[in-house]
Symmetry: C3
Subunit: 504 residues, 3 copies
């Protein structure tokens, strides 16, 4: 769900580490010695940053010796496979561009389903739909209809193709569809509900686009604000006492909840963690929540970890604020924190340990805010939706500080935590190199100056000043330059991989 | 009501074609040959773009032959009359500038009354006041006081003279005055009410100016937001249980409305359309609504059509969402949609059929939003006011798309739908001409290149690139240039017409 | 509390009038003739602008004659003393920079306590804490803890050092701490309350920074918005029916208040004025309110005057809107108006009589808004906090007008009313001088032209145009230039004062 302005040309500069083991792979495939791909499965935790290090390590080794063991080849084979299904599956997206339109649409819908959790990955989307079907088939249907029509509406309204292809117009649709079914009081399989569902999900792109016009001024994404607005709109426009589309009755708390600490069920508190993740899609089945965790893990382990931390933080906050145990078990304290923790923890900020702490702070703030908003909204018979997440994440993204360890990524460069991290590292490295270079230049000039001390010192000083000026100028343009260079590297890498594939 | 930044210099270049046949007319009147002005009445639909074409047609004709039939003169006479009273009555406004201050103030107040419906026309304002008096004389008085003091306050606070003269500081005043009277529980002719009425309407320009500071960042108008804020402020600050200024009691719905479809009164549903238009000013009399439609028609038929469509859409939405029939008959579902449909359908967007569809979509969205906001506001004992219109229209104005058939006018160029449309057409024509010219230039260069193939080809290519560069540069500045050129064209046209008139 | 963007380098250019009497003082101290410093106390009203005039007057005198009477020396000695403790105590702040960290922190905390009233003065802060202790020691403790942790949190989060040192991160903390204690239903000395108190006050800098990112786009301060958000958050998240942190029960009015005008207590109405000032910090003790007035007077008499006017306006508004007398006596109608009147009356606008009227208008608007917001918030069991002040002051700061007597200071130049006024005067003087200079240049050129009439007129005209161009260019940069020059003057002045001090 990273902002509506991530256009298709940006994600191109994907995982340049691919080129790292292409030559090695070429030989591995040629010698047909790949024997135990599934058994030699490397720790999946490595799929993010791990792969790269491994690949780089092998690469340098490969340069030294031509001896390849069978195990190395298997590992390489697996890394390739992982590179294809993890992250944002860019290679797959590229391949999809040449396919039949309906197949493309399905890809966009699946990506849209996963983008609720900031994951731009059709496989994750598929797993998520599986989880939804396990929970409730009527809800899953409504979710699918919502995503589909939101995407179609975005196409009709001629929104940015890149954003549509990344699922950025679908994720509000799936939430609108799902939650309208969840909060309907008419029971499952009340087919008339599809009508407002379609209308509301088709309105999503309009509201998204309008909000993006505002938020883009601060380089902020719209998050799930369109969903919040539209579901609240539908629920409060109809209400509990409606003939056509009645909503479940939600009323404000008016007496002391009966909380006895002896009655707390520790096992249920633990299941509240996956349930909290499931509640992002309105699901209270812990297995569904577990399936969603798998979906997150496929694309980005960092995201998965932060989702779990967020849900746990929410649960703890609920206990601290003396919430009724049922609400905690039901995951109502978790889902906003899950989203807030993912958003801050590596998605829109580059993950450092300071950012990690900030993400946890944000999750606590979000839990607090969640309780407040739930109480306020209940006055109008409304659920809290994901307002707490949106407001807390926006607050923490607007926050500025003078430290350089908290680096907010430009919205156009947001991808997934692992890639964001790599972007951040490269930027830092570049900066460091340039600083060193400048220092070295300074050093040289000083030496030269001392040599030529006598005759033409004045001329030299002027030259030196020019040299300095250029160095300073470079700093300003470094981000743009870096991006261009990364893209070039990428194209080279992709070319190598494809040529290798042909050899196989 | 188009934005506060339409300053006086912009509307100046209005329908300069009016002057096109004034001298001609002068002679026509002198020769006393005007015989059947009312019978030869041209379709009023032509009052917008039609007139101009007619005028242009005559103009070219006049250049060719000096033979003028009696009918043509009558037609011209009528067109002149129409041109004086339709649109924004610019000629009248110019004439007013030299009059007594109190007369000017009356003009501004009348324009302010009409600006509620985006109409900058004192005659429409007069008709609207007639409608208000038909409804309730006490309300009409309050409305007048509100408009008057809002305008005076704007003068005291030294706001833009152009905006004041266009009634842009009055329309919130009339609504504040009217609705404070409508929602007062103290009964009619409770003279103390004029006190908060004056205070609140004098606060209007401050709130308007403050909101304009924010909205202008997105080139958005403030709509009726100041009215909404101030009336809600007054109502909730005093409330139903107040000794001085009690408000009518508004409470949230707490049980199922009794809706029997057999009881629906189709005739009443149809009268709900004019009543919906009347409810923009808080009036439930269908005749008042009808009078308002006439007022709209005088200034701009497109506005009138969209008002009717909007009201109908609101009525249908009410039925779809199972609203109590009384609320629908009472026009409560219509008035917001009326305003939203006018605003989107030709006022702030140039009217194309895509925009027309967008306006209808916006009206539906507005109806939905209206129901939602009414339910939320009733919790605080407040009516929905025109919040739904403001929010939905702002959303649809913030919406961006990649198609060029949905063209949002720069706020400074917003006038009335017919003129906006002409502005849009000219812009398109200009763009087309420039594109063709560029293509022709390219063609020429290509030919020349082939001729000179041998010797000095290199030199020529450089020249050509310079030519291209200039062509590209033009695109960026096209709007400004267009406006300047439009003015120039206008002056030339005026010169020709007047010389022609002398010939006659 | 003036905005978060006032960095440390700006307040440096303090009271350049110091230099005005340094030489005079030097001699006064050398001759050891200072005898009656306290008796010759000049009217404290002069501490603001008065001093300067006096100083300037003496300065010119001093230039003429070397005869210094004993009285003059005493006066100068007192002015120096006043200059040290009034305003923003810049000299003290400079001296503090070299002190022990904990002492600095205490300075920041005291300034933070005073910044609630826009006063950047540790002495005022100390007096305010005295007032709080008089009211309730538990509240005072909570306030201190809030300020302390908000400041520490800002340090941890690496916010601008200048803003922290001015107490701009503390004032929300003290309000959060105080009001959480005031609205807690758990009674005084419920030590667990310090936990959410610390959490919430540590969140203050995050919310402040986020809001500043938005408000800075319109060059607006964040006021007490972070406090409003966080206290409402805490209160509504826990609510009246909470086991850990119960809040006092606040319910909407549902019946006519029993108001008998005969029962009005005029004496109590008068005490409502200081009580209103005390209610800014949640205190209902009139003596505490009186102490706060003293604290304001120390730093800025203009601020003190506007606080009193604001409180009186609020009281009158309460009577006009038929509020229950108890609420008026309790100061609930006053505190928002106090803050709004201070903010508009000289703090963010340069004080002219138009601005003074605007401040009173704003106070009335604020009272109205206060009643409205209190009614709305009571639906959620919340108090109005200082939302009315924030919203009304922001509205009046966003308001634009074409008159030049209402001058909004750039946020970076906001200090205290007296200094703001001096800034405004200098700006005006500068503008006038430049205008005159330009006119004189024009005159010269005209004369020269007439002299050289014949031969080289054409050349001269070109030169003249160049001259003009430069003159125009200057106008654009005048503010920046002025600031730089003021800084230079300041450094010279400070240098003189310190050298003089060494002589003593």
């Amino acid at each position: 769900m990273p902002g509506l302005h991530r256009t298709k040309d940006i994600p191109k500069n994907i995982s340049s580490f691919y080129s790292a083991f292409t030559q090695e792979l070429a030989s591995a495939f040629q010698s047909k010695q790949v024997q135990q791909p599934l058994m030699a499965n490397p720790d999946p935790e490595m799929s993010g940053g791990g792969e790269q290090k491994a690949a780089q390590g092998e690469n340098t080794e490969a340069g030294k010796s031509a001896v390849h063991t069978c195990q190395q080849k298997a590992k390489a084979w697996l890394l390739l496979l992982l590179s294809y299904i993890s992250g944002d599956m860019e290679v797959f997206a590229e391949w999809m561009k040449k396919q039949f339109f309906l197949l493309q649409l399905l890809d966009w819908v699946l990506r849209g389903a996963a983008q609720v959790m900031f994951v731009n990955n059709p496989l994750s989307g598929l797993v998520i739909f599986a989880g939804l079907i396990l929970q409730n088939r009527w809800w899953a249907l409504n979710g699918f209809v919502g995503t589909l029509f939101a995407t179609i509406s975005a196409l009709i309204l001629q929104q940015s193709r890149g954003a549509i292809a990344a699922g950025l117009y679908g994720y509000n649709g799936i939430l609108v569809g799902l939650l309208m079914a969840v909060f309907s009081n008419a029971g499952d399989w009340y087919w008339w509900l599809l009508l407002p569902n379609i209308v509301m999900s088709m309105t999503c792109p309009i509201v998204s686009s309008a909000l993006a016009s505002i938020n883009s001024r601060w380089d902020l994404p719209v998050f799930t604000l369109p969903f919040n607005i539209l579901v609240c709109l539908h629920m409060v426009a109809t209400g509990h006492y409606n003939h056509h589309f009645p909503q479940v009755l939600i009323q404000p708390r008016t007496e002391l909840a009966n909380i006895t600490w002896a009655e707390v069920n520790v096992a249920k508190l633990f299941t509240a963690v996956p349930v909290g993740i499931g509640q992002v899609y309105g699901c209270d089945n812990p297995w569904t929540g577990g399936i969603f965790m798998v979906a997150l893990f496929i694309s980005s382990p960092i995201t998965c970890a932060h989702a779990t931390i967020g849900s746990a933080v929410g649960m703890v906050s609920g206990l601290a604020l003396a919430a009724p145990f049922e609400a905690i078990y039901f995951g109502l304290w978790g889902y906003n924190c899950v989203l807030a923790c993912i958003a801050i923890g590596g998605m829109f900020y580059a993950l450092t340990w300071q950012v990690h702490l900030l993400a946890i702070t944000c999750a606590f703030f979000c839990a607090y805010l969640g309780s407040a908003i739930a109480n306020v909204m209940s006055t109008f018979g409304l659920p809290a939706c994901t307002w707490p997440f949106c407001l807390s994440a926006l607050t923490f993204l607007l926050f500025t500080t003078e430290t350089n360890t908290i680096f907010k990524l430009p919205l156009a460069n947001v991808a997934y935590p692992e890639r964001n991290l790599r972007f951040f590292w490269k930027l830092r490295k570049k900066e460091k190199l340039e600083r060193e270079e400048k220092e070295r230049d300074e050093e040289k000039w000083r030496e030269k100056e001392q040599e030529l001390l006598g005759n033409d010192k004045e001329v030299l000083r002027m030259e030196r000043m020019d040299g300095k000026g250029k160095g300073d100028g470079m700093e300003g343009k470094e981000i743009n330059k870096m991006m261009i260079q990364e893209e070039e590297m990428m194209e080279v890498a992709l070319g190598e991989v494809s040529s290798m594939a042909e050899n196989v």
